[in-house]
Symmetry: C2
Subunit: 313 residues, 2 copies
């Protein structure tokens, strides 16, 4: 009854119009795990260097995230990314990437990690995603990927899609993967590639859509007047989505829909401050309050129009 | 108990990846009126030339749209627009505009038009919009505008916003008008300019948002695998929105929300075929069926997460 994620644990350096940070805890695995930890027990498979300090480990500990499968490479340096966001905050401009210990990362899942009920393959080399998936007993496996892998090794991405239940990607990646500009046609193609149970397409400030075999569900984004740091928003979404699903006895259409909303809610918190800062001190009450707020801003009563009850005829 | 619209009645010529048409009935006033006619009695204020034939008049007649205030300029030619859409269908490329009789258009609302309960000022010169508004007794007045007027006569646009109740524009126009990239901040500014009751921001394939004094409401677009001709989608949205409101005894928050959905539904039909072709032969049942479908694809149950009822703890 738990959730395993394999993904990067990293340090980020950021420049945004609102400020600058030289060293933030980051990485897809980190953002995902932190977000999911509000809903379920989480285990992380990853690798860090010996520059990873007690401060960083404490973030995981505070949220009862199991890090037994995070390998520490002695003398090694943790994956480092430096990026810049301009005023529109939509596009991350990479200024520097040091793969460091991540370059030779070989995921070594423990029995406990293999036995988790759900598994998330964050954005790493597709062959490694597939390896981890094949060792896992999980009943529901989701994956992310990125434009770089779709460009450089599309076949490997497709082979990985074929062994998972769910893909969670953004709309540009979906269009690229399916080579199809219409997002609904692209979704259909991707669903077929993998015989998927679910496909989640994230559209940033425009919301997100869920495609399942027989249904479609779409929601807007949570309205935010200021986005401070969008780094990790997608992984935080995926963490809320998978974490919520892990908390449910059965993965039904209804559960998937609520998972979409929890993903949206978690991502909306993540972007309010730098790095993991906001999510790190979130409470369950704040999450549920925002969930209820989201319901209020998307709800309408289904009263079909009839000429007979109209004021005008 | 009716709705008046002032706006263009035009001929369009179109080139799209799906085909070409030399002469389609078009214009903001036309698309709006046709869409609204499914919900309420509609009157159009506009102008055409003597090239406007019985075929075109029949479209209005079929839908009981009153055209007494559509002036016919003898020997004049009707407003003509020729455009091209490329494969992505997001941007209209104007190839030719002949204002013709529209160049010297002076709206002359009859008493009946002035007395309509609702008024829509489609995208025409802001000074003309203001003139028509000032002659009207309507209890709820909405307007559209466009980037061209915001660029060339922003003050006039603002003066018109100050005498209406509701603005219906797209997101690029909202950002431009408020000079603010964040759509929620932009909306706040525009609401304040006009002390508006409602602001509708249309986001094309991403849906639409409704801002009112105390509330926010957002919906995704209706999912469409193929968009055939997006011309008039915005006006068809506005027609569904205002038409539905005109059919309601009171313009409440709930009515505004359902009006957003009816606007979305009507626009989704409009883009399925060239010009007014699809909407012209729509039925009330088709509209309500798509409204119900829209409810199904956006609905989720509000069951807040609790550790205690979770499967994982």
């Amino acid at each position: 009854m738990s959730l395993t994620v394999v993904g990067s644990v990293a340090f980020d350096a950021l420049e945004t119009p609102f400020g600058k940070r030289d060293k933030l805890l980051g990485g897809a695995g980190t953002h995902f795990a932190l977000s999911a930890s509000f809903f379920t027990d989480v285990r992380v498979i990853g690798v860090v260097g010996s520059d990873f300090t007690e401060n960083e480990w404490q973030v995981f500990k505070r949220h009862n995230i199991n890090t037994d499968d995070v390998e520490v490479v002695k003398g090694g340096k943790t994956f480092f990314w430096r990026g810049r966001y301009d005023y529109d905050l939509n596009t991350a401009h990479t200024l520097e990437t040091q793969l460091n210990v991540f370059e030779t990362f070989e995921p070594k899942p423990s029995e406990e990690s293999k036995n988790a009920r759900l598994l998330f393959l964050a954005n790493i080399l597709p062959m490694l995603q597939k390896q981890v998936r094949e060792q896992s007993e999980a009943e529901f496996v989701a994956m992310d990927t990125m434009n770089f892998w779709i460009d450089s090794m599309k076949d490997a991405v497709i082979e990985t899609i074929q062994v998972v239940d769910c893909v969670i990607i953004n709309d540009a990646e979906a269009r690229q993967l399916a080579d199809e500009p219409n997002i609904h046609k692209a979704a259909k193609k991707i669903m077929e590639i993998g015989d998927l149970r679910a496909l989640v397409i994230k559209r940033g400030e425009y919301g997100a859509a869920l495609f399942t075999k027989d249904n479609y569900f779409a929601i807007p984004a949570f309205p935010l007047e200021s986005v401070f740091d969008p780094t990790g928003a997608g992984d935080t979404f995926a963490g809320g989505f998978m974490g919520y699903l892990a908390s449910q006895v059965e993965i039904t259409e209804d559960a998937l829909r609520r998972a979409m909303v929890y993903g949206t809610v978690m991502a909306s918190f993540n972007v309010e401050e730098f790095g993991t800062e906001r999510v790190d001190r979130l409470t369950q009450d704040e999450i549920n309050e925002r969930f209820r707020h989201f319901k209020r801003i998307t709800h309408f009563e289904e009263i079909p129009f009839e000429q007979s009850n109209s004021a005008s005829k």
